[in-house]
Amino acid sequence: DTAVSQTPKYLVTQMGNDKSIKCEQNLGHDTMYWYKQDSKKFLKIMFSYNNKELIINETVPNRFSPKSPDKAHLNLHINSLELGDSAVYFCASSKEGMNTEAFFGQGTRLTVV
């Protein structure tokens, strides 16, 4: 069974469109994250949720809106997509607190044309 699953794996869309990426974890973790990996492979945290509450919101355009309907799901909705949004987006989850590792999803490769 996949621990952290994201859909879709690939997403190609035109500029200006709105799209969503879904993430689900079956590990019983309390904390979920979205990371963006750019073309240079640099990983940057975007959001962190703990028990459905937003904990971290990095300097991300407000076109990006995370939603956590329950602690097992953290979806990412992106409005008015731009070319610069092209990247691989990784969802991750972990237990709350220290001495815990993060588990990553397979990633969603978003290409905006």
């Binding site: 994250y33 240079k40 492979k41 990983l43 962190s48 971290i56 001495n99 815990t100 993060a102 999803g105």
Partner: protein, 113 residues
Amino acid sequence: AQSVSQHNHHVILSEAASLELGCNYSYGGTVNLFWYVQYPGQHLQLLLKYFSGDPLVKGIKGFEAEFIKSKFSFNLRKPSVQWSDTAEYFCAVNVYGNNRLAFGKGNQVVVIP
């Protein structure tokens, strides 16, 4: 600024050579330390982690890392690499009370058969 530093972004070496990747962090206080590996086209997988105790930790696939608190370092080593070790390697730090995993910029390692 608080950060995680990885040097020598591109590393090319032959099979059977030894590998050492440096990681330095600038956070104070209690930290958890990780090395993740990302094989081409895949998601991040945990290689090894340090929470407490013996500063020399062993991970999967023959990798090990040493935590040197005085140097704020967590260097990764493998005595003899294989072609299958070609991947991107990321050092990551979780700081107590920070609710996030901060990543270094990664090391792209290419092992030539």
